[in-house]
Amino acid sequence: MSLTDAFSIGLALVVVGLALWTVAARDAFAAVVGFVAYGMLLTLVWVRLDGFDVALTEAALGSGLTGAMLIRAAGRLRDTEATANAERPGALIRLMAALAAGAVTAALAFAVLALPDPAPTLAPQVAANIESTGVGNPITAVLMAFRATDTMLEAIVVLLALIGVWSLGPDRAWGARPGPRYRADPDGGLAYLARTLPPVGLVVGVYIFWIGADLPGGKFQGATILAAMWLLARMAGLADAPPVSSGWLRVALVAGPLTFLAVGAAGALYAGAFLGYPEGYAKPLIKVVEWALLPSLATTLALILVGPPERDPG
């Protein structure tokens, strides 16, 4: 067994152990911390598997953004957590839950073990046809050309998630700025970080977006970094979210998905299929959609984290 094998096996054991610990943790906050650490280790796993695109997405969205969202949720649930933990369901319900969870695990294990070896793959077809898209990164070619429908639905699902978050706000706060107003010492460390880091973060976020055409990266990862920079400025009290009734905000949110839909509809007219790209125009059209999606995704992801409108409109 080589040293890298030993590292891989150790990493896998730690990931499984941490996953079990996260499920078993009684305290919501502790479970969230476990989940974030689990996501970071999963990023390492994807790097070991040479899945750099997935690794970036896991670090930015799976662990970072979702982790921040879960920390907020755990903070909100803190007051009622003791009561919720005190309620213990009856033995029958616990047994049924254990059986259902066990059955899902067994079905998943069976599905994975039943895969033929080597697993079925469309990778050769992608490699054979990637020329026609003009894009260098096969992941981007799949996401934006061969399986563009999935990506479009993803962009729309994120928007629907934001509508879901907004709908949790009380009626009286509708139309107000979302989330709490943060105040921090304007000369303190946090405000200094929030003034110094965004220039670096903007460059890194746009770079990861820009390089996505040919190397690992892309709009979702880039948008998450841009959203994180704005959230940092907001937490330091340097920026505030626009009111949810703002027309400009609504335009920014839907511009990306609408552009995607428009390009898709144009494909139905000129290329013979919804989301088809006419010969020779694939790369420019992919660029247009990606540039339109980046600001929309960054805004949507940031506002999902900010939460529902809860202040009185004033």
Binding site: G188, L190, L197
Partner: protein
């Protein structure tokens, strides 16, 4: 084995030791402030030494600068977040 390789091994080894010591401190120290003190050693010295050890192995000057930037960003973020945690810990009293 070249001198640069020996330098890399020594620096990365020393950096890993600081990470180990920081982790032991995080687990063993009695309160939030001393635990933070242990963690900053891992972030600052541990990561710094590992970056230093990796520098001779960087493929280009650009890669080396990126490594240094990562260390700088980690230093910056950990300094600010330690300050924030320490402030809350102090406000809540020594037992928090």
């Amino acid at each position: 084995m070249s001198a640069l390789n020996i330098f890399s091994i020594l620096a990365i080894g020393a950096g890993s030791l600081f990470f180990l010591a920081g982790t032991v401190g995080l687990l063993r120290f009695p309160d939030a402030l001393t635990r933070l003190h242990a963690l900053t050693k891992a972030d600052n010295l541990g990561l710094g030494l590992i970056v230093l050890g990796l520098l001779p192995r960087a493929g280009s000057v650009g890669d080396g600068l990126k490594l240094l930037l990562i260390w700088f960003l980690a230093l910056f973020a950990s300094a600010v977040s330690s300050q924030l945690i320490a402030r809350v810990a102090r406000a809540r009293g020594p037992r928090a």
